[in-house]
């Protein structure tokens, strides 16, 4: 079979997610992998500018309304070996119409150096 259904769960209203675009790669800090680990805190200024604190860095970004929204597809039914078994299909889990774009270079947070006693 060479046809894969992209099924919308939209009957009850599709969830709206947000995309965050960061430069570079995301790497786990500890050896356990990414799952469960913290990325950082996301704030917005009163003018609506997103501010992301990641580790020892601050990033300032921009809220962008996407001209072309994204659909988030999740592959299901892939119990078979190979690229696609006969029951493989994709589910549209969510739509993304908004992006938080962080393009500026992160500013390092310089903590106070304690004075030597």
């Amino acid at each position: 079979e060479a046809a894969f259904l992209v099924r919308s769960e939209g009957a009850g209203g599709l969830a709206q997610w947000v995309l965050m675009e960061l430069q570079g790669e995301v790497e786990p800090r500890q050896s356990g992998g990414l799952a469960g680990s913290l990325l950082g805190d996301l704030h917005y200024t009163r003018e609506g500018v997103p501010v992301l604190i990641v580790g020892h860095h601050i990033l300032y970004g921009k809220v962008v309304q996407l001209e072309k929204p994204f659909a988030v597809l999740v592959k299901r039914g892939a119990g078979e070996p190979g690229p696609a078994g006969p029951h493989t299909h994709y589910t549209v889990t969510a739509l993304i119409k908004t992006k938080l774009l962080f393009k500026t270079r992160p500013k390092p947070i310089i903590t106070n150096v304690p004075k030597k006693v």
């Binding site: 919308s8 997610w17 799952a35 601050i58």
Partner: protein, 394 residues
């Protein structure tokens, strides 16, 4: 680990030397969800062309079609799109439950910490580009076993070269509406649940029954009654086939009394008869052909060369002038391959001659002129603008 508290978030703000008064009171703590570490094996982003978002929000499905040796396409109920992976050099994280400033502002009371789990991330996404449906395969599949009539012994043997609508949907890289429309265009019909194309000789046999009856009954070409056709011809051919040939070569209408009539397509009938004559040899003397052709068409019809666009080509350089069969549906589907094929048949083409053979390549808002600019080179020969290949043809 434990979820971050308001106190911890505020402490981080202080370390970062950010003034809370300049920020909205609510904040998100982002962490990677349990599935996120797996990466994007099972989760991916699809960029949506206009109209597709509304389709999905209405609960309609899309379909990705393509065999292993084909480039995948995405189909909505009526459009087809090429799929391509777009690589960015950035990380795209997708976050459920993440609020925008507008949403937070609308809820003035909130100063909560929102714990959002990142569902997944990717550095690429599927990009779509509207494309022509890939319909050449449809004709190819149906030509594997053309219907030769009820008397043909072929149909009595079990053959697996027969296709239902579902079969075609899974094999053709096009949307359902585009496939159904094309089936109509090529005059396919459903016989015992399978889509069939008539074998040309059988089709001409059916057409001949009808044109002879029109002649013997002296009916006007614009008012051929279905009822009488079925009565007179029903003993010779299946009723469904009689009706099918009338539908293929005429326009059905119902008069005030509720009787079904057909307005016959003179051009289409003349064209079919020309094909019948031309397929018997490599090429013909043009004036001889025109004479025989006019004699072969039904009484009252005029055979004209402009009826043969995309079916036959006249060679005005040979002495005497000749004409030969060249069917656009036999030519390659890919743009570059189509032009290569045309230029290997004839080195230089006028726009008038080449247009019927490239018209079907035009994308949604593309003109023949734009195609010629892209795939051909123009020059002037004897005061006439002609087009030839951009590259040497082997």
């Amino acid at each position: 680990g434990a979820m971050r508290s308001r106190a911890e978030v505020d402490a981080t703000l202080q370390t970062a030397k950010l003034n809370p008064a300049e920020l909205l009171p609510a904040a998100h703590c982002l962490s990677f969800g349990p599935q996120a570490g797996i990466g994007t094996g099972d989760c991916c982003l699809l960029q949506l062309e206009p109209g597709l978002c509304a389709e999905l929000e209405a609960g309609r499905s899309l379909v990705i079609r393509g065999e292993k040796d084909e480039q995948a396409v995405l189909c909505s109920k009526d459009k087809t799109y090429d799929m391509k992976i777009a690589d960015t050099s950035n990380m795209l994280l997708f976050i459920p439950g993440c609020k925008t400033p507008e949403e937070l502002n609308a809820d003035q009371a909130s100063c909560d910490i929102i714990h959002s789990q990142i569902a997944g991330f990717s550095s690429n996404y599927w990009e779509l580009r509207r494309c022509r449906p890939k319909l050449k395969k449809l004709r190819k599949l149906l030509m594997e076993d053309p219907y030769e009539g009820p008397d043909s012994r072929k149909d009595q043997t079990l053959t697996f070269s027969k296709y239902t609508t579902e079969d075609l949907l899974s094999l053709i890289q096009a949307s359902e509406e585009e496939i159904l429309h094309q089936l109509q265009v090529i005059d396919a019909c459903k016989i015992e649940g399978y889509w069939r194309i008539l074998e040309f000789d059988y089709e001409m046999k059916l057409l001949n029954h009808v044109t002879q009856l029109i002649d013997s009954e002296s009916w006007p070409l614009s008012k051929v009654p279905l009822r009488t056709c079925l009565e007179e011809l029903g003993s010779l051919e299946p009723r469904e086939m009689i009706e099918h040939i009338l539908l293929s070569y005429g326009r059905k209408y119902i008069d005030d009394a509720g009787e079904v009539y057909f307005e016959m397509h003179e051009d289409k009938i003349c064209r079919a008869i020309a094909q019948m004559l031309l397929q018997n040899a490599v090429k013909f003397n043009l004036s001889e052909f025109q004479e025989v052709w006019q004699q072969s068409v039904p009484e009252g019809m005029t055979a004209r060369l402009d009826q043969l666009k995309g079916l036959a080509l006249v060679d005005k350089t040979s002495r005497p002038e000749t004409i030969f069969l060249l069917k656009v549906e036999d030519l390659p589907e890919d743009n570059q391959e189509r032009f290569n094929s045309l230029f290997s048949i004839r080195e230089k083409w006028t726009e008038v001659d080449i247009t019927p053979y490239i018209q079907d390549l035009c994308a949604e808002k593309q003109t023949v002129g734009a195609l010629l600019t892209k795939y051909a080179r123009s020059s002037t020969q004897n005061g006439v603008k002609v087009y030839n290949s951009r590259r040497p043809i082997s």
